[in-house]
Symmetry: C2
Subunit: 392 residues, 2 copies
């Protein structure tokens, strides 16, 4: 297993507006994306990787001349890795509304010539999937071998099977949920309030004031971080360890290591993440609820899905608990869909989907071997379709 090496981000401009679920539309826009591996002649080995809140099209590899520039899923995607770039043509794409290269709130609103700011149209998981589908059109990919994502990325993978059932053969839905719980929405709302009530937010038009609502972003990130880690892993990593040998008896100074860690995470995040993007992406999470238009019936929502599924959850993930993944599995089983489910006993909470756990990676690797075997079988005219079905 090696690294994918240096990669180069690409950009594609779309002149045709993107109609959005809200009824609004996104005028001409640009998507940042990366690809790894080679598209085969049959164009049948493409795998789309969908990102979550704080990630981008930079899934794997590094940027030349930039230290610590590994992609966010570099441990999973690469030559000989579970998602093997020697076999698959892997595409990472930054969603519109994000702040890592695709059109977002920092860009200019063509109607005003000023940054979009808080006026950037509200985007949903469904809108992102449609934007991704257009990119695939341009890349000449009619059907994906697989779509994969964790957390919010898993919601996109799930949505692909509903919105474009004919365009996706496999969906890998990892550490995800069919919608947010009241508690999930509650945490998002606190984070949003922290940002929106920061005086430097200026109603979302802070760019014009030359400031950034860093205080709000810090608090938002700290809250998020707590929900990404399990109680146990936080206990194991920090416990009640003190920063100094003695207590300072202070309400504002740092006493415990966990405080130091959280403040550091908040500071770092507030220096690069866009506040309006935080609002947009947490809202996309809140809104995602494919069952809603079917009276709350998730099976009905997934009735048109023809993909095969791998659903993965992690035992200590209290943000998107295994119970939420089992809801997806049950709905798929009710429809007679082909679904494999793995509940990984991992200590790391929601963050586990980003980490290198042998059991987790083993499951994903095995699944992609199945996907690859199907591609080889189809590519080889000697194998009859009936035999392929038998093997699957």
């Amino acid at each position: 297993m090696g690294s994918i090496g240096h990669v180069t981000p690409q950009r594609m401009h779309f002149a045709q507006p993107l109609p959005l679920k809200s009824g609004a539309q996104l005028p001409d826009y640009t998507l940042a994306y990366e690809t790894y591996g080679t598209l085969n002649e049959a164009r049948s080995n493409a795998v789309l990787v969908c990102h979550a809140l704080n990630a981008s099209h930079h899934v794997a590899g590094t940027y030349a001349g930039q230290e610590k520039s590994e992609g966010w899923w570099n441990n999973l995607v690469g030559p000989g890795k579970p998602l093997d770039t020697d076999r698959f043509f892997v595409i990472g794409v930054n969603n519109p509304g994000s702040c890592f290269g695709s059109t977002g709130p920092r860009d200019l609103n063509p109607a005003t010539g000023q940054p979009w700011g808080a006026d950037f149209p509200v985007v949903t998981v469904e809108d992102w999937v449609n934007a991704q589908a257009r990119l695939l059109d341009e890349l000449g990919i009619e059907q994906l071998a697989a779509v994969i994502g964790g957390s919010l990325g898993g919601m996109q993978a799930l949505s692909w099977t509903i919105q474009h059932p004919q365009r996706v053969r496999h969906a890998l839905v990892i550490a995800s949920a069919p919608n947010l719980s009241a508690q999930n929405i509650a945490f998002n709302e606190v984070a949003r309030r922290a940002i929106c009530t920061d005086p430097e937010f200026h109603g979302g038009h802070f760019y014009a004031h030359g400031v950034v609502p860093q205080r709000g972003l810090r608090v938002a990130r700290m809250i998020g971080h707590i929900t990404y880690l399990s109680d146990d892993s936080m206990e194991a990593k920090f416990g009640r360890a003190l920063r100094a040998a003695e207590l300072a008896y202070s309400t504002q100074q740092i006493e415990f290591q966990i405080e130091s860690y959280l403040r550091y995470q908040g500071d770092k995040f507030s220096e690069y993440f866009d506040a309006n993007t935080y609002l947009l992406i947490t809202r996309a999470l809140d809104y995602f609820d494919p069952a809603r238009e079917h009276g709350g019936d998730l099976s009905a929502a997934l009735a048109k899905a023809t993909a095969k599924f791998l659903v993965v959850s992690f035992t200590t993930d209290w943000r998107f608990s295994p119970q939420r993944s089992r809801e997806i599995v049950q709905a798929l089983l009710d429809n007679g869909s082909d679904v494999a489910y793995a509940e990984i006993d991992a200590p790391h909470g929601h963050d586990a989907f980003l980490l290198e756990d042998p059991r987790y990676h083993g499951v994903v690797r095995a699944y992609f071997e199945r996907v690859a075997a199907e591609i080889s079988a189809v590519s080889s005219p000697a194998v009859a379709v009936s035999k392929l079905r038998e093997a699957a």
Copy 2:
């Protein structure tokens, strides 16, 4: 069972400074307190109620001419109630550093003639217990029949048995923990950062500026509120219910009922709670760790305790989970202490300790009947001590 009726808060001034665990001291100070019921001739029926973050000496009854002025534990304390004021002399006391009547950050620092603000000395659970003990001295109560508290109040009850073992016969430790976990500290720290980075905090000296860091207090309260409720009870009460018939597709407007509820709770809280008190009380929570001075050995910390214990936890409390209560029980059992433990199957999360649950209240009632029986037995010379022991 009736209400205790109208009650009147009292105040007691202490001219002698209170030495604090930090090494500092609190100069002359005042404690607000209330008492219900009658102290018997033997002065053996006193029960001290310790409060948690957002509560006070006003435990039960109402204030004349004030609507909705029921004490915070009015469902538990009163004539014929589980803590029966027909049998017990119940004392509620507001802790120094709080903002409900006892000396706190809003009061004047005698050294400067200005409000204490952020200079109010850092107080600990141990300091509060010592302040409470001094109040009992003044009330002529040498020994408590029982001390009871939930959450942070339970920590005070536990600490009483360590600091003043001879002065407490029973301790009821409810929905509490032997110390905060890393995750508990993390939530406190986010709340504190929200307050301290609010520009209207002014380093804790906002009184002089005629402002209040309400934005920070709101966020702090919203975070707290999420941790008080169970995921399930939040789901049952709010789920994904919308406030309007249709989605507005907005990042800043309220879409979900849970958002409306949290914002309301935050607004209300920010209008009456003192920001410096929030910092002080969350820090007292962080610091509490009786095992620390015994190399992490909780049994050693509790070795001198002679009280009998009732420990109660609630199955869905993820803030102070049953596991944390079982740590206390185990340490007491290791010492051969007399301890009863009840794990109540209740859906309401940490908040359950404030609610009227028949199983929970049944356990507390039964325990106090035992405490009352001991008092009667001791009061009646006809009952031999051996017989009493037999009955217990």
